[in-house]
């Protein structure tokens, strides 16, 4: 099923006044796609999910399922959640405590008045897909967090929904279980080929799971793209710092022209730009840019050739496989992710700057 959001806004009205949660969101989720809504808490991503589910009515805009309107306040259209055939996995799992695991998974089928014989078969199928066939007689209170999670997913997939909604489904699991469940969710989604909207604040989840990712902030969608597009060409400094294993470094740089070539000035350092980068900088039409450098792309070397910066190591943290080194330079403190030998605190090092893979932003956008 294809899901489209067109100019969707949602404003909550409370005693303290109107609070806009979602402001003018346009989205298209394609058939069978796993689409991730990524953003910090309070960015409106869960509100978008509730709007798709029909738990909330949009204040304006139109939502369509396969082209068919399901919510449009201006046209007074609103299809209730029970008629939308969407399934949701809640962050809190929201299992029915008075029913056992079988009763929980069977609940949507019983509400839909499916025959008891086929209910038993369907529940067994969903339970075996998630490996909880042994737990059917247990109560939610007797299950571990990971098991509850599986029951919640089984309940969601048992009746073949048109749209599958997941609200931070992994955030209550411990790290090891989270990684395993993540892989399994991806497999399950491929197997079922259900259009899926997945909400998370964890960029690793978004990058590993999503076919496409929408980055949200303050109720707006900042950028939509494949995980790779978001990683390689963030459109805003926020996107750069939110996505990636470590936040992007930002260097203030002046733009000037010398001998017909565009240059950047960082502190005392002058850096000539390749024609490709120069075009990119020119398009920004500004005299000051913010240079975004990924910590994993900056290299430490004793005597790097240009373009490079010198700096003093202020700290070095061991992250296991890699080391996160902070270096104070003329342009500010730069974080460097390196899998080589880390220098000691106080060492003077040279940093090779990956200008070609760097992102450039307007300096004004950095605020």
């Amino acid at each position: 099923m294809m899901l489209t959001f067109q100019g969707i806004s949602k404003t909550f009205v409370s005693e303290r006044g109107a609070v806009p949660a979602v402001r003018g969101v346009d989205l298209t989720v394609h058939e069978g796609e796993l689409f991730v809504l990524l953003g910090p808490s309070g960015c409106g991503k869960s509100t978008v999910l509730s709007l798709a589910a029909g738990l909330l009515k949009p204040s304006s805009g139109e939502i369509r399922f396969d082209g068919e309107l399901v919510a449009a306040p201006r046209k007074k259209v609103f299809v209730s959640p029970r008629e939308r055939n969407v399934a949701m996995v809640f962050q809190s799992y929201a299992l029915y405590p008075h029913l056992d695991v079988f009763g929980n998974i069977a609940f949507p089928l019983r509400v839909a008045k499916v025959k008891e014989e086929s209910i038993a078969a369907e529940v067994a199928r969903a339970a075996s897909m998630l490996g909880i066939g042994e737990l059917l007689r247990a109560r939610p209170g007797e299950l571990s967090g990971g098991q509850r999670q599986r029951v919640a997913i089984a309940r969601a997939i048992v009746r073949k929904p048109r749209l599958f909604l997941l609200d931070e489904p992994l955030s209550n699991l411990d790290a090891a279980l989270r990684a395993a469940t993540r892989t399994e969710l991806k497999r399950l989604q491929r197997e079922l080929a259900v259009t899926t909207l997945y909400v998370t604040h964890d960029q690793t989840e978004a990058m590993t799971l999503g076919d496409r990712v929408a980055l949200m902030r303050d109720g707006r969608v900042l950028q939509v793209g494949t995980p790779r597009e978001l990683y390689e060409s963030p459109r805003t400094p926020f996107a750069g710092s939110f996505i990636g294993p470590a936040p992007m470094n930002f260097l203030d740089a002046g733009v000037f022209e010398e001998e017909g070539r565009l240059h950047l000035r960082i502190g005392e350092e002058k850096i000539a730009l390749s024609p490709g980068k120069a075009g990119e900088v020119r398009r920004l039409a500004t005299g000051r840019v913010l240079l975004g450098l990924r910590p994993e792309h900056v290299r430490i070397s004793g005597d790097p050739g240009p373009p490079a910066l010198r700096g003093i190591v202020v700290s070095a943290e061991n992250l296991g496989r890699e080391r996160l080194v902070s270096v104070e330079t003329a342009g500010g403190i730069l974080a460097v992710l390196t899998d080589g030998e880390a220098p000691n605190e106080g060492d003077v090092v040279g940093l090779a700057l990956p200008i070609e893979t760097a992102s450039v932003f307007r300096a004004e956008d950095g605020e």
Binding site: A53, L55, M88, F90, Y96, P108
Partner: protein, 276 residues
């Protein structure tokens, strides 16, 4: 260590004093009911225990005590059931729907329940007379329901608001309408709260005296409190033994009810619904 002991002693003494204060009248009631000479309230008089008063209360046809017990249980039970059945959807609406002025509505309900029953009773009497309902269950059940409804609504609202919202959201997505979500999810999950609310409503109705006195004229609908108050001795004396025996017996249904459901009331059912 000494501090802890002192606190424990204070605690024990305090609890004992409180219990004694509350239970002494009850003990006195039981004692008089079982005493062979209930009308002599003297410490010197030797007291022999007897079951005579209990047997009299239950066995004397002209007292109609067993009928009063049945009336009381039916009237209170119906009132409690009706009040809870009305309060549950209302509490669901107040806690789950985006209704404007929810809180004002709750306070309005509270304000209505502040009117002293005395101010209503003459009007109620005229209304019930006009309807020809005097001395029927309906004459008591309707006012009792109205009387315990605000209390039930307040208690249920607090119970419902403690149930995670995701639970009825899940029910809505699983294909339930609002009423089905209430019936299939909220009510079973809130069952302990609903049960304790119903028991409270039952006890309120069970103890009510004024309405019952004015709206019943005979044994058809008369309840225990009125029935006991109207006990008369053979020669106009106050039959203390029988009054106390009847009062003791009247405690039994309520105590049984609470004992029976105590476990269900105490044990929360929401365990495991959502992450704690």
């Amino acid at each position: 260590m000494r501090e802890e002991r002192r606190i424990r002693i204070f605690y024990t003494v305090g609890a004992a004093a409180m219990s004694a204060f509350c239970l002494l009248p009850v003990a006195y009631m039981v004692l008089v009911a079982a005493s062979s000479r209930p009308d002599v309230l003297s410490a010197e008089a030797s007291v022999r225990l007897t079951a005579r008063h209990f047997l009299e209360v239950l066995g004397t046809g002209s007292l109609h005590f067993p009928e009063y017990v049945v009336n009381s249980i039916l009237v209170s039970g119906l009132s409690a059931a009706l009040a809870v059945a009305l309060a549950a959807p209302a509490a669901y609406a107040i806690t789950r729907l985006e209704l404007p002025g929810r809180m004002s509505f709750l306070f309005l309900v509270l304000a209505v329940s502040m009117f002293p029953p005395v101010s209503l009773v003459s009007y109620l009497f005229r209304m019930m007379s006009a309807l020809g309902w005097i001395n029927t269950y309906a004459a008591l059940v309707l006012p009792y329901t109205a009387w315990v409804l605000p209390l039930s609504l307040w208690i249920l609202t607090s119970h419902f608001s403690r149930i995670p919202r995701d639970l009825d959201r899940a029910a809505l997505l699983d294909g339930c309408g609002r009423l089905a979500a209430l019936r299939k999810v909220m009510v079973p999950v809130a069952a302990p709260g609903i049960l304790s609310t119903a028991i409270l409503a039952f006890i309120f109705a069970f103890n009510e005296f004024l309405f019952a006195l004015l709206l019943t004229t005979g044994r058809n609908a008369r309840t225990i409190p009125v029935g006991i108050a109207l006990f008369e001795g053979l020669h106009g004396e106050i039959p203390w033994g029988m009054i106390m025996a009847a009062a003791t017996l009247a405690v039994v249904p309520v105590v049984l009810l609470v004992l029976l459901f105590q476990r269900g009331i105490v044990a929360g059912l929401t365990r495991g619904a959502v992450r704690e």
